[in-house]
Amino acid sequence: MKSEKRAKPKIGVFKFASCDGCQLTLLDAEEDLLAVAQAVEIAYFPEASRRMRKGPFDIALVEGSITTHHDAQRIHQIRRASKLLVTIGACATSGGIQALRNWQDAGEMARVVYARPSYISTLKLSTPIAEHVEVDYELRGCPIQKGQLLELLSALLAGRKPNVPTYSVCVECKRRGSVCVMVAQGIPCLGPVTQAGCGAICPAYNRGCYGCFGPMESPNTTALSDHFRILGQTPTQIQHAWRGMNAWAWEFRKASEEVKVP
């Protein structure tokens, strides 16, 4: 048994284009937050503390997508300064809801939205972190699930494999004992192609899954689009279903583009 005091692993929490909801999940960990603070040194977390220490970091938690030239450079600095880089949430892992602009003209949108579009310097696309640097682990979700975050941190600290399932939301839906809303009510549900993690919350409240956790390990999106059609969804509705928080995740993106919208 080790008795000597090891230096606590240094953690940095970094933000790119995002809503802060995923970082907040860490602050929302409440009773577990103390344990986290005891187990690691939270060296850089502007959302929580003004004390911002420099790297290198043992673990970087990265939230948000890359949308500006500056972002695209900064993520490389973070990667260089971090042993492990973990992306957290739909923005960081797939480009986020802001990736909806990837199908539009970003300059055109800036002109519509901002009084002085000349102040806006943005990339054409909102892209996930993994398109820019190597990512060691990813946590899906919009926002991420607190239990999964703690599980991942605990696993990294203990040097064991994290239990982060890659199967469908349906598995959690059945474990929970919910009645399938798609079969029993004809409500379109993305559960069969979406990765587990949320605990199948939406079906438990009589709604179809919105796909917050992105594509599962082997998503059959074509079959689900077909099924949505049988359930009476219009092509536009089907395309909108794919274009949510994980619109730019490759399989969802492909599915949305396959829909023939008249």
């Binding site: 344990a35 605990s154 239990n163 059945k174 474990r175 069969p192 082997s218």
Partner: protein, 382 residues
């Protein structure tokens, strides 16, 4: 023979059904039975006979279920409900044990869930067979599951014969319904005309003991005739069939079939079929620790052969294509289960047909695979 042996049969008027609840509760049983939740009939804890889902009709089709009210006040109107009884005997998730580190000592705490005396009320004949199949798996061999065994020993099975098979039921083909012959503590036949009543038969000492406390009258000729008529009518109502003749060989012959890729185009690999199947038993053991590293737990969670991670060994998953995963599942259910456990892995409850969101129908797939083998054989012999 004892002079005053307890009654083995009796007739209970519908109006006195609460007496059954009372007797069970006095004996300390928690009653689990059909009730309405989220627009479906599910099995859960019942406190009173009034909470049973009377006066409803279920509609079953591949990938489709609807519950609608009907005038007739039949009490046991549902077929095998979405969540099988295995939920209670073999829960979806249990914490097996916890290890805590105190100073320099590791303490191991076993966390087997406390066992409750439970009465399952409204078990369909197919599910009696499914429970018998799981009994064989978990209590019949060298490797026994103590959690299942303890739950099972504390469970009373009150079965109800089926007179209205659902559109996805095919127990008639699998020899497991629509009427029960054994494996129950009590067996009910619900008779609606002329008076709404239950013909009750006991199948064990525990069943007899409960029956002896009920306000029943001895069955008359018309009660027996009515029950037989219901059975005959039920047998006529099946809409799905599986030809079990040579089924195992027919399935094995299709191991390399192109048919699997056809199914894979429709299948989500969502695992719903395995989660609702009353005989599927695959689980995963997951170890986790807390942030401080002071405690670690071992969990057991339902898993499925439809998951990539399920067949993951060094170097990758064994069954990468969805076709291979569907093949694994249906071949296990209909063929290799015989080699492994000496029974069919499928009892024909129809759950996987109704609750597959992609409307994949095991009876249709079995038929398609059988036809392929037969035509290949015919071809080879010409």
């Amino acid at each position: 023979m004892r002079a005053s042996s307890p009654p083995r049969e009796g007739v209970l008027p519908r109006s006195r059904l609460s007496a059954l609840f009372q007797a069970l509760q006095e004996w300390g049983y928690e009653i689990i039975g059909p009730q309405i939740r989220d627009q479906a009939i599910v099995y859960d804890v019942l406190d009173r006979a009034e909470d049973l889902a009377a006066g409803y009709r279920e509609e079953h089709a591949p990938g489709r279920y609807r519950l609608t009210p009907r005038a007739q006040q039949k009490v046991f109107a549902s077929t095998a409900s979405i969540h099988a009884w295995k939920r209670f005997l073999y829960p979806p998730e249990i914490k097996l044990y916890q290890i805590s580190l105190n100073s320099s000592q590791a303490q191991i705490e076993s966390l087997a869930t406390p066992v409750r005396k439970r009465a399952f009320l409204g078990v369909r004949p197919c599910d009696l067979h499914a429970i018998a199949v799981q009994d064989r798996i978990f209590t019949g061999g060298v490797y026994r599951d103590p959690y299942y065994e303890a739950n099972r020993a504390a469970t009373l099975l009150i079965a109800v014969n089926c007179d209205e098979p659902g559109a996805t039921c095919f127990c008639g083909s699998m020899g497991s319904g629509p009427s029960a012959t054994h494996g129950f503590d009590l067996l009910l036949t619900e008779i609606l005309e002329p008076e709404h009543r239950f013909l009750i038969e006991s199948g064990s000492a525990a069943g007899e003991a409960i029956l002896s406390r009920l306000p029943v009258t001895p069955p008359q000729e018309e009660d027996r005739t009515a029950a037989q008529d219901l059975h005959r009518q039920a047998c006529q109502k099946f809409q799905r069939f599986v030809d079990t003749n040579e089924l195992r060989e027919l399935m094995y012959a299709q191991a390399e079939s192109e048919h699997w890729e056809k199914v894979a185009r429709r299948c989500f690999a969502c695992a719903n079929c395995t989660q609702v199947c009353p005989t599927c038993f695959c689980v995963n053991f997951e170890d986790s620790s807390d942030v401080s590293g002071a405690t670690a737990q071992r969990w057991r969670r339902w898993d499925s052969c439809f998951h990539l991670s399920f067949s993951y060994i060094h170097g990758g998953s064994v069954r990468t294509s969805v076709g291979a995963r569907y093949r694994q599942w249906i071949t296990h259910k209909l063929a290799s289960w015989w080699d492994q456990f000496g029974t069919s892995g499928c009892v024909g409850c129809g759950r996987c047909v109704t609750w597959c969101p992609a409307a994949i129908d095991i009876t249709a797939e079995a038929k398609a695979l059988g036809t392929l083998t037969r035509s290949e054989r015919a071809h080879a012999s010409t």
